[in-house]
Amino acid sequence: MSTIDEMQQRLATLEPEAMEIGDDSALHAGHEGARSGGGHYNLTIVSPQFDGLLTIKRHRLIYNALGDLMQTRIHALSIKAYAPGEL
């Protein structure tokens, strides 16, 4: 399974109304931080579970859902997390 498919599957636990994941790895190939081999991704996600939560708590929910992917296949993840109605 591709990393993006795996991310989508794990993030499904947040019951997203919308989700978009982009692969930015090519932009970072060869830089110091990319040595570990993990990819660079960007995530935009809309979930009712974010309603009323500070951004840091939203990011924690995402990191928890992604679990060990954050230590393995994901080197960097840029996150935009919205509750429905915030867009």
Partner: protein, 107 residues
């Protein structure tokens, strides 16, 4: 878990009002996200203490456990994790970061 390292990180975090753990230095950042976080702090006109995690293996290996946060950079204000570069930028755009930093200087 390396308790000695976690205690050392705690001393750094609590020893300065504003701490940025980053890859590289504010002058020579080695990661776009770290650079963004440093630029946001500079734009706020605040003094901050920075730690180059690429030059400190102990911090590099243990910081992710310290606040259970999986990525660099990490910004701490008054000993508390604020988040990474996305959160710093978002709070800056809303004016929240400037408010928080104004409070930290008085503390």
């Amino acid at each position: 878990m390396n308790q000695v390292a976690l205690d050392r990180i705690g001393q750094i975090v609590n020893g300065h009002p504003v701490v940025l753990f980053m890859k590289g230095t504010p002058q020579f950042p080695q990661c776009g996200f770290s650079n963004l976080a440093a630029q946001v702090l500079k734009a706020c006109g605040t003094e901050f203490f920075s730690v180059n995690v690429l030059a400190d293996a102990e911090v590099y290996e243990n910081l992710k456990d310290y606040a259970n946060w999986p990525t660099f950079p990490q910004l701490y204000i008054n000993g508390e994790l604020i988040g990474g570069s996305d959160i710093a930028k978002e709070m800056y755009e809303k004016g929240e970061l400037q408010q928080l930093l104004a409070g930290s200087k008085q503390a």
